[in-house]
Point group: D2
Chain length 415, copies 4
C-alpha cells in the first residue's frame, strides 16, 4: 500500500492492482498531460495534470465503492478503471480531441488498444482482470461503469474541486464528500439517495459556473483553437500522424510544434502568449444554422474566403464553431419517496441551466491583433451574420445586444 499526498484529498492510499498500474509508462505519462490544456494561459496556477486527477478519481471511486458496499473483483475492476480512465487523453487533454477523433475515430475514452496492447494489459492480467472489461467500464458500460463515466461519476466530482483549487475560481467547490456518500443504485441506475435534489442541483450549478469562467473562457478557446490548427498542420506533415500524437505527452507535442517549420510560428506565439484576438463573436441566434452545422471542410473553405477578402494569410484566421449546446445534464437521477426521479423532469433549474448554456454559446473568428477590424468585417459578409454588432471592435463604443458579451474575460489575464 502506497500513500500519496494530494493537494485536494490530502492522503490517498493506493493498493492492489492500482499500485502496480501506477508504475506503468502510460499512467506515468499522465504526469505530463495538462488537465486543462491551454486554460493555464488564462489562469496561471492551473498547471495540474491528468495524473493527479486520476489519483483523485481513484480515491473517490474507492470511497464510493466502500459506501456502496461493493467489494472483491468487482470493486478492483472499478478502481482500475478509475485510475486508468484518462489514459486515452492526448497532449493538452481535450484541446485536440476532436481533431484526433476525425483522424483516428477514437475519443479519449476509447482505450481498448491502450489497455490490451501495452504493459497495462500485463498488469491487469497478472491481477486476473480482463482489459476489455476495464475498457468497457471506462466507456461507461454496465452498472458500475456509471461510477466512472456517467451523470454522477466520481470523475466530475474530482475535476470540479481540483480545477477550483488550482485555478482559484471557487465555483467548483462542491460537497464531494456528501455526494460520494449519497450515491446508491436503484434498478441498476446510479442515483443519489433520498433528500438530495439540492445536492444534485449543486453539482449542475458548479458546472454551469465553471464552464464559461474556466473551461470555455474566450482566451482559452482562442489558444485552444490555435493549438488545434497547429496540430492539424503537424499531422499533415509526413513524419507525424494522428495516432502518434495521441500517445505523446505535452513535452512531445510542444517540441514537435517548435521543430516543424509549418508550425514553428504557432509555437513561438504560444510561448510568448501572443494570441490571436477575436474579430467576431456571435451568439447562437445570430449565427446561420448552416454555419453551426458546417463540417470541417466547409469551415476550412470559409476561413479561406474570409482570409482572401480581408487580405490576410489563411494561417492567420481561425473560425471557431462550437458544437451544439449539450443536453447531457438532464439525465441525473435522484431518489424521491422511494422512486427514481430524473432531475431534468422535476428541477426547473435544470431547464434554466440548459437555457443559460445555450445563451453562452458563441461562434468566434480569431485573427492577428492588427487585422481584427478588416477580418471582422469580412467575416460578417462571408458568414452572412445578420448583425454588425458582433464586431469586437465596436463593442465598447455602443450599446450591445448581449448582456454578457465579455463576461468571462475579466477573470484572468486580459487578451
Amino acid at each position: 500500500m502506497t500513500t500519496i499526498k494530494d493537494s485536494v484529498h490530502d492522503h490517498i492510499s493506493v493498493g492492489g492492482v492500482a499500485e502496480d498500474l501506477l508504475d506503468t509508462g502510460p499512467v506515468q505519462r499522465l504526469r505530463r498531460v495538462a488537465q486543462l490544456g491551454t486554460v493555464k494561459l488564462v489562469y496561471p496556477s492551473a498547471n495540474h495534470t491528468r495524473f493527479e486527477h486520476s489519483l483523485g478519481v481513484y480515491h473517490l471511486a474507492d470511497r464510493a465503492l466502500d459506501s456502496l458496499g461493493i467489494e472483491g473483483t468487482e470493486a478492483e475492476r472499478v478502481r482500475a478503471a478509475a485510475l486508468l480512465h484518462d489514459i486515452g487523453h492526448a497532449p493538452f487533454s481535450h484541446n485536440v480531441e476532436e481533431l484526433l477523433h476525425r483522424h483516428t475515430g477514437l475519443y479519449h475514452d476509447d482505450v481498448t488498444d491502450l489497455l490490451v496492447d501495452t504493459e497495462i494489459g500485463d498488469v491487469l492480467l497478472e491481477h486476473d482482470l480482463d482489459p476489455e472489461r476495464i475498457a468497457g467500464l471506462i466507456a461507461g458500460e454496465g452498472q458500475y461503469g456509471q461510477l466512472v463515466s456517467g451523470e454522477l461519476d466520481v470523475d466530475r466530482m474530482d475535476y470540479l474541486v481540483r480545477d477550483a483549487h488550482h485555478t482559484g475560481v471557487p465555483y467548483g467547490t462542491i460537497d464531494h464528500e456528501r455526494l460520494v456518500r449519497e450515491l446508491t443504485f436503484a434498478d441498476g441506475d446510479l442515483v443519489l439517495d433520498e433528500g438530495n435534489v439540492q445536492t444534485a442541483e449543486s453539482l449542475l450549478m458548479a458546472r454551469a459556473l465553471m464552464t464559461p469562467t474556466v473551461y470555455a473562457h474566450p482566451v482559452a478557446r482562442i489558444s485552444k483553437a490555435m493549438l488545434r490548427r497547429a496540430t492539424e498542420r503537424l499531422i499533415a506533415t509526413p513524419d507525424i500522424d494522428a495516432r502518434s500524437v495521441r500517445r505523446m505527452d505535452d513535452y512531445d507535442l510542444i517540441s514537435a510544434l517548435r521543430m516543424t517549420p509549418e508550425t514553428e510560428a504557432f509555437a513561438d506565439r504560444y510561448d510568448r502568449r501572443d494570441l490571436f484576438k477575436r474579430a467576431v463573436w456571435a451568439e447562437y441566434d445570430d449565427t446561420p444554422a448552416s454555419l453551426r452545422e458546417a463540417d470541417h471542410e466547409a469551415i476550412r473553405e470559409l476561413e479561406a474566403d474570409i482570409a482572401e477578402r480581408a487580405s490576410v494569410s489563411p494561417s492567420e484566421i481561425v473560425l471557431d464553431v462550437p458544437a451544439e449546446p449539450s443536453m447531457a445534464e438532464s439525465t441525473s437521477e435522484v431518489l424521491g419517496g422511494g422512486e427514481v426521479r430524473r432531475l431534468g423532469d422535476h428541477s426547473p433549474l435544470v431547464t434554466a441551466l440548459r437555457t443559460a448554456q445555450a445563451r453562452q454559446w458563441r461562434m468566434g473568428v480569431y485573427t492577428v491583433a492588427d487585422a481584427t477590424d478588416r477580418v471582422g468585417k469580412a467575416a460578417v459578409d462571408v458568414l452572412g451574420l445578420d448583425i454588425e454588432g458582433t464586431l469586437v471592435s465596436d463593442v465598447r463604443q455602443r450599446v450591445h445586444a448581449t448582456l454578457d458579451e465579455f463576461e468571462a474575460d475579466a477573470a484572468g489575464v486580459d487578451e
Copy 2:
C-alpha cells in the same frame, strides 16, 4: 488603527469612527448574539456571532469604497453603517425578529433609537456624523445605502462566505473579492460592471443552495419555532417586555427562559436538544391559501384545535407557516453593453431559482416525539390538507408526492 484577525478575511484594519464604535456596549453586545441562531443545533460549528460578521461587512465595505473611489465623510458614513448594520438584532438574530416586530413595530434594521439614544450617538457626533443619516444607510436609503442593504450589498457577501466557513457547507463560497471589485454605480444604482452576469448569478445560486441546506434547515426551523414560542410566553409575563428582549444578548435570553416558570420546560428541551418532531409537512400547493395567509391569532386558534383533537397540551404544538416565497432576488442589476440590465429580466436562472424557492416552501406542524402520529392526523383534518401523504409517519413506507421530502435533513444531526 487597530488590526483584528478574522478567520474569514484574515487581517481587518479598523480605523476612524469605526475604531471608536468598536468599544461601545451595543457593538460589543454583538459578540454574544449568534449569527445563525438555532442553526448551531444542526451544524455544531456554527457558533459565529454578529460581531465578527459586522467586522467582515465593515471590511468589505471599506474595500468596495476603495474600489469605487468614494472617500471622505461619505465613505466614513458608509463604514460606520457597515459596522453598525446589525446593531438592532435581538438575541438569536432573526429567530425572534417577527415576534418582536409584532410587539414593537421594529425590524432589526430599524435602528434610529439605538443610534440616537445610546453612547453610539455620542461617538458618531464626536466624528461629526449624523446618527439619523447612518440609520438611513442601514435601512438601505440613498445611493450608498445600497452598499449596506440592497441586492448587491456587502452584508450578503460576508455572510455567505462566513456561514460556509463555520458550518462547513461549501455552497456559500462565492468569489467575494471579485464581487467587491466589480461593483459600480450607474444612474445612482449599485450594479455589477460589464461582464458579470455569471458573477451575479453565482451569488444567487449560493443563496439558493444555502437557504434550504442551512438557513431553513427543517431542524433549525423547528428549534426556531420553539424558541419563538417560548419567547412569546416570556414577554407575556409581567417582568419582561418585547423592547427589553430586543436589547438582550443570547445569555440574557437563555437565562430568562431558564428562570421563568412558563418557559423553563422549553429551556430544558433546548439545553438537551430534545426538540419537537414534525407531525405534518406540507407543500405550498397542498396548503390551503387561507392557512398560508392566516394571521397570528388564527394560527394560535388552529393550534388549540389541533391540540384538543389530538389530546395534547397546546404548549406541545407548533404550527409553523412561513411567509410567501420571496421575489426579492429579481432586482439585481448588471451592466451589459453600457446599459443597466435587471438580472431577473434576462437570466432564466433567476426565474428558475424563484420557482425552486417556491417549491421548497413547507408548512410544518411540530409536536413532542410520541404524539406525532395523532397530531399529524388531527392537523390534516383541522387544517383541511388534501393529501394524507404529508404525514411524516407514513413517508418511509410509501411513494411520496414530493421529490425532496427530507432533503436538507441529511446534512446535519438528524432529528
Copy 3:
C-alpha cells in the same frame, strides 16, 4: 449512524455508544462551553465550543483506532472516552479550572462522578461499558488511555487544527491526517512510526507558536484573570459553590455573575470588553522565586499591599503569576531504527522549545486603566522586582531588556 457536518473534518459519522451519548445532557452542555474561554475577546472568530471539539476528537480517535487495527469493545471504550473527554470542563473551559480545583480537588479530567452518577452512566451500562474504566481512559490510564490523553493524543491534534481554523492564526495547521496514520504501539507505548521525527517536531512547533499567540495572549490572560477573580467572589457567596459552577455552562456563569452584586461590576466590564491593563510585566528571571512559588493566600495579601500602597481598591488589582514553565513536551516518543526514542533526548528542537517557553513566562499585575502608573510603581516595590523596566508605562520610551515584550499583542484587538 448519524452524520454530522463539521467545519474542520467535514463529515463525522457517529455510531454505537457515541450516538447514544450525544443525546445526554452533559454532552449537550458542551455546546455552551467556549473552547478557548476568553480568547474570543482577542480573536473574535474564536467562538467554537467543547462540543464540536469533542466530536473532532471522537472522529480522530476513530480514525486512529482503524489505522491501529483496534476493534470491538476496546475500541468502543476509546471512542466513548474520546467523545466524553471534556465533560468535566467548567464554563469557559480552562479559565477557572485551577480555582475550582482548589475548592473541589477536581481537574477537568476527573470525571468519575460525572460518568457514574449521571445519565451518561446509564448509556454506558446499556452498552456494557464500565463507566469507571472510561473515566480511567479519560485520565490517560492504561495503554489506550494514551490515545485520549497523552503526548500524542488525538485531543491535541484536533484542538490545534480547530483553534487555527477559528482564530485565523495558521500556526496550528498540522498534518493531522498523517499523525493519525503514523501512530503505533511499541512495548505498550503510543509512539510515531519510523521516519516521523519531523512529524513529531511539527506538533511541538505548532504548540510552541500557538501558545503565546493564542492560548496565553496577554489580553486573554488579563480577561481570564479577571474572570477567575470574579468567579472566586461568586463562590464566596452563600448561594453558589464550586461544585455547582463546575456543572454550569457559559450562560449560567455569565448570568450568575451579572445578577450577583459582588460580581456585577466585573460582568459589566466583561460585556463592554473594558478590561484591566498591564501595570507590570516581568520575566521569569526578574521575578523573585518567592513570588513565583507564592500560594493563593500569599498572592491575595500581596495584592492587598499593592492596592493599599497605590490607593486603589483591592478589587481593582490582579496579580497573575503563572505556573512554572511546563516540561511536559519532552516525553513524545518516535520509532527510530526499530527502537523507541524519546524525542526530548534526540531533538535539539525540543530543548530549544522548552527554553523558548521559559523565556515567554511573564508575571503580570493588572489594574484599571487610569491607575497603571501608580500600581506599577507600587508593585515593583511590594514584589521586590529588581528592574523598573518592566513598568509598562515606560516601555515605549526606552530600550527594554526583553526582545519580545509585547509580541503577541499585535495579533488581535489591542488592549
Copy 4:
C-alpha cells in the same frame, strides 16, 4: 491594470512596468519552468511554475511597499525586480543550477545579461528604469534589495505558502499577511517590527519543516541528481552548451534529453519514474571530511572507483554530496525595545534549527535497483565510511544509528 486570478493570493492586480514586462518572452518562459523541479515526482500536485510564483512575489512586494510607504520610482523598481527575480532560473529551477554555475559562472540571480540584452531591457528603459539597477535589487543589493532577496524577503513568504498549497504539505502555511505588514526599516536594515520574535521564528520553523519533507525529500534528491548528471552529459555533447540550457524551458530540456543518444536512457527512466535507489545514506559525522569537501572531479573519480569495484557501469552510479549545512538563517532581525536584535543571538530556536538542519544532512550513493547491495558495500569501502549501518539494505533488520533514517520518505510515493 490587469487582474490575474491566483490560487494562493486570489486576485493580483498588475500595473505599471510590471504589466508590460508580463508580455515579454523571458517572463512568459517562466510558465514552463517547474517551481520545484523534480519534487513533482514525490508530490504529484506540485506542478506549479516560476511564473505564478513570480506573480505572487510581485504581489507581496507591492503590499509590503504599500505598508512601508515607499512610492514612486523606487517602488516601481522593486516591483519590477520582484516580477523578474527568477528570470535567471534554468529549466527545473534549482535542479541544475550548480552544474550551470560551474560552466557559466552564473547563479539564477545573476541576471544582468538577461535584463540588458533582451526585450526586458527595452521595456525597462521605456519606463525610465535602469536594467542594471534592477539586476542589483534582484541580487539583494541596497536597502530595498532586501525586500527581494534577503532574510525576510517576500520571495520566501510566497514560496512557502505556495509550495504548501500545491504539495498539500501544510508546514509552509505561514501568516504571510502579518509578515508583510510587520516589515520595517531600521538603520537601513529590513527588520520585523516590535513584538514579532515569534513571527520571525514561525518563518524559520516553516522552512525547517518544509526542507526535509519537500525540498530535500530523498526521492526528489535522487531524481534531481539523475537529472543533473544527464544534463551534464548533454552539455558535453557538441550541440548544446551550458549557456543555452540556461535559457531553455522544461520542454526544451526534456526533449533535448530524449533526443540525445547519451541521455535518452535517463529520459526514459525519468518518464517512467524508474529512479535509482539509495545504496548508501550516511550522516554528516559518518562522512569523512575529505569527501564532504571533495570537488566535482574528485567525486567523478570516486564514482568510477565504486562502479568498478561493484561491477556496474559508471553511468549507473550517482554520488550525491550536499553542500555544508547553511548558516544563513541566523541573520534575521527583529525590533525589540526600540533596538535591532539579531534573531540568532536571542532565539534558542535558531540555534536548534541550525543543529537540526546539520543533523538532517545526508550523503547518498544511488544506483539501479538490483545493484544497491553490491554498490552499497563498494561505496563503504571506497569512501571510507566508518559504519556499515548506513547500508540501506540493512536498515530494516537492525537497530540503526539514526533516528530519522527514512523519515521524509513516507510523505510521498515510495521509492
